[in-house]
Amino acid sequence: MISGLVQILVFQGLGELITHFLLPLIPGPVVGLILLLAFLALRTSVNASLDEVASTFSQHFGLLFVPAAVGVVMFWPHLKAHAVAVVVALVVSVVLTIAVTALVLKALSRGSRK
């Protein structure tokens, strides 16, 4: 568990450094993700500790969103004033996104594979 966490933190740190000094366009965690992916591809395996930490994170990913999302209280009056636009845009957009992605996948994989 600990060694997996250390690996992830080291890659996160490297990512932040690269973002800060070289690539200001890409967020640090994304650079860290790409570096860790390259590292895993070179080693061609995922060690048990890293796997454990990664699966714990993906199970409770939702918890980590809570502090940022509670920021909704700051925008509450503003959002209420535009409630219809916000709700319609959110709902329609997510439905269309899921539908378009699924349809493109279905259409293209039918042509190339089966």
């Binding site: 890659f11 990512g15 969103f65 809570v66 636009a85 916000v86 997510v94 996104t97 293209l108």
Partner: protein, 247 residues
């Protein structure tokens, strides 16, 4: 004994002041609310509407409003949880790596679907919000909302819109996606688990992925792959696109 204890024993108010000055209160509030959300989700047989994150957000937002705790003060304590979003994002490399071998031979459809889905997400949300008269602050918050929240907030900072509003929209999108995905996918007759999972991941990032994992392992793996790829591509392409379109 009581006589000795009583004068020195701090009253409730002092305890309160002490606790709210440290990160403890915000952390207990955040984790406790999430715990309640998880229990409710299990009790409701993992029904998509009993989303644990939604429950936690409502509980925390209501509590800090009731006790008159300003959001920045809450965030000061809760930032330790928030910080881990970056760490969790890095850890996405693991499911992506594991998904890569399964992805071989499907790269073209997956990338095409990702790009089509990503563009649909931005165009439909920004277009509708504008059409319905939302102001530019709100419209800006929609640009990165289908990307997983930590990356979305990074993108928001870079394109000069509110990271907090972006996070709020990203999380709402994730919850809506987790709730609605099953119905939408059935309606468009998507039957393969890998396709269903990938579609959820493109539209509803981390929260959709948690949902996908709780339904089917293959769907979960493809969903996390979609979330990771969307995050990486979004981080590179959205700021570029915003610059070209002059947001």
């Amino acid at each position: 004994m009581t006589a000795q204890l009583t004068p020195g024993f701090p009253n409730i108010y002092e305890i309160w002041v002490y606790l709210s000055g440290s990160p403890l209160l915000a952390l207990i509030l955040t984790l406790g609310a999430y715990q309640i959300g998880v229990i409710a989700y299990e009790r409701a047989n993992r029904h998509p509407l009993a989303n644990p994150v939604l429950i936690a957000i409502v509980l925390v937002a209501t509590t800090i409003t009731l006790i008159d705790m300003p959001y920045p003060k809450y965030f000061e304590g809760a930032q330790f949880v928030h910080f881990l979003l970056g760490t969790a994002t890095v850890s996405l490399a693991v499911p992506i790596y594991k998904g890569l071998s399964a992805m071989r031979g499907r790269i073209v459809p997956l990338l095409a679907a990702l790009i089509a889905g990503g563009l649909t997400s931005i165009a439909s949300a920004v277009g509708l919000a504008r059409l319905l008269g939302a102001d530019s602050a709100i419209v800006g918050g929609f640009v990165a909302k289908s990307v997983t929240a930590p990356i979305a907030m990074g993108i928001a900072e870079r394109i000069g819109v509110s990271p907090t509003l972006t996070a709020v929209f990203a999380v709402s999108t994730g919850i809506l996606g987790a709730v609605l995905a099953r119905f939408v996918l059935d309606a468009v007759r998507s039957r393969e688990w890998w396709q269903r999972g990938f579609a959820i991941g493109v539209a509803a990032h981390g929260l959709g992925t948690s949902r996908a994992f709780s339904v089917n392992a293959e769907a979960g793996a493809y969903s996390s792959l979609a979330m990771g790829l969307h995050g990486v591509l979004g981080a590179v392409l959205i700021p570029l696109g915003a610059r070209i379109l002059g947001f």
